[in-house]
Amino acid sequence: MMERISLKVNIGGVELKNPVMPASGTFGVESADYLDCRKLGAILPKSFTLNPQQGNPPPRVVETSCGMLNAVGIQNKGLEYFINVTLPFFETFDTPVIASVSAYSEEDFKTIIRELNKTKTALIELNISCPNLKEGGKAFGTSAEETYKIVKAAKSVSEIPLITKLSPNVTDITEIALAAESAGSDAVSLINTFLGMAIDINTMRPKLGNITGGLSGPAIKPLALRMVWQVAQKVKIPVIGIGGIASGADAIEFLLAGATAVQIGTSSFAEPNIMERIISEIEDYMREKNISDIHEIIGGLKIG
């Protein structure tokens, strides 16, 4: 009945076959055993830093009502490992790879990006919003000026289109998004985790080694969706929606709110191949609604 449907979207000049990709920190080479990386819109492995880092002391996870707190603190093997091991592994799939980069200074960001320029990395996501680092990430992402400065610096050296990942722990996320945009970011992704906490009443101690951690999962979906909607109205660059997405219907809410693509994090833990299901649920919805191009959904929220 209907012509072939198209789920293709474009982020910073890179065409994705569909708008569904993993959220950083919830996907790695091991994930490839549980789903078909060829089916994803993009591949986005965990954030890495210039040098390997150990991350925070355990416990690093607490389950909460319809969500979880994590305080991993970006344990990773550093830039070199990413370039020599992670990237080559994922380049075997016919899917753009996005490098999620974390750093503690403009200089580190620049150093990393210069090295990535030499690779086939399709897009770079600047993680300036991790709540689990004492310095760096947090400071940048919660101030519009800092965001502008860091994105500007990154952009000045990058030959790869940039996505800036925003923190939800701010009064007005649109301000930060606009700062990233005016500094030259090619897209924004939001949101990173919400800073939270849990206490063990028996030991009277924090349940996380790091005291606080980042809340993710279905619990935060309404907040993430609101922020995506607010930002999408303000910026002209593509918005990637993140936060609690666990079904095709959830993903469609974000697309309607104005997201050009979505990232799936926590819900992959319970269901490692959930992204494949989400893609096919989006297709089902489009067929049912007789929508042939996903762009008819993006920003399609009707108000009034």
Binding site: P58, C66, M68
Partner: protein, 254 residues
């Protein structure tokens, strides 16, 4: 993810349940000491899978078995699994226990629900004609299980309890010494207690025995991507779900 069908799920006393699940794919792949992550319920409450040691398996029958302690919301829900129920399993994941080429005698040290981790290894060792000295520790007799599953001509099972003091460090050490004296121990495997782990490490170190411990940490992904389940080792933070749960004693206690 694999679908399994519950064949049996019954209380065995001591707050433990024993569950048998038909899942030929996992039964085929499983190695001693590996873990399987059970999704106790669809939806988001609880959000995460629960990790369990595979207590026993039967590759021909295509079955795997668990012994689990009722701890909280997830295991409470598992209690209500009935024969015929389809359940969602992820795994096996993680490093297994490995029997050394040419090993003649091994020691298994398990405490509480941690016993579930070492029983299949004991059975595998016995199958290969390796002598097994098992020390199964618990608060009281109800808290100890698996002795029957270990029964074999080459296996000795020592059950030790807190209530009669037999689980004391000194007594366990005595059993270890005796075993060592009766002919050298080639490997030690331990699970379920930090104290026993430390004891096993000290003893193994002293006698230059290869030793392994299986650890527990709260998990999220279960496959090694999220790094929430780390434990501190001499090699830095390692993931229990992928780099473990089985680690050389020296990496953990060294």
């Amino acid at each position: 993810m694999r679908s399994g069908v519950v064949l049996a799920n019954e209380s065995i006393g001591g707050g433990y349940h024993h569950m048998i699940v038909n899942c030929p794919k996992i039964a085929e792949e499983i190695k001693d000491g590996q873990i399987v992550h059970i999704r106790v319920k669809d939806g988001y409450e609880p959000l995460l899978r629960r990790p369990f040691s595979v207590y026993l398996y039967d590759k021909k029958a295509g079955t795997i078995e668990f012994v689990y302690a009722i701890k909280g919301v997830g295991t409470e829900m598992m209690k209500s699994f009935k024969p015929g129920d389809e359940i969602d399993l992820l795994g096996p994941t993680g490093k297994s226990y490995t029997l050394k080429e040419g090993a003649k005698k091994i020691v298994l040290l398990g405490r509480g629900v941690g016993i579930a981790s070492i029983i299949s290894l004991g059975a595998s060792a016995a199958d290969k004609g390796i002598q097994v000295e098992a020390i199964l520790s618990g608060k009281s007799p109800e808290k100890v299980f698996g002795g029957k599953a270990l029964q074999s001509p080459t296996t000795t099972v020592n059950e030790v309890y807190d209530i009669d003091g037999t689980s004391d460090v000194e007594n366990v050490m005595k059993i270890l010494r005796r075993t060592q004296e009766e002919g050298g121990i080639d490997q030690i495997f331990v699970c379920g207690s930090k104290r026993l782990g430390q004891l096993a490490y000290d003893f193994a170190n002293e006698h230059n025995i290869e030793g392994y411990v299986s650890l527990e940490e709260r998990m999220a992904c279960g496959i090694g991507v999220c790094h929430v389940c780390v434990c501190k080792t001499t090699k830095g933070y390692q993931t229990v779900c992928k780099d473990g749960p089985v680690f050389p004693l020296a990496e953990v206690y060294g």
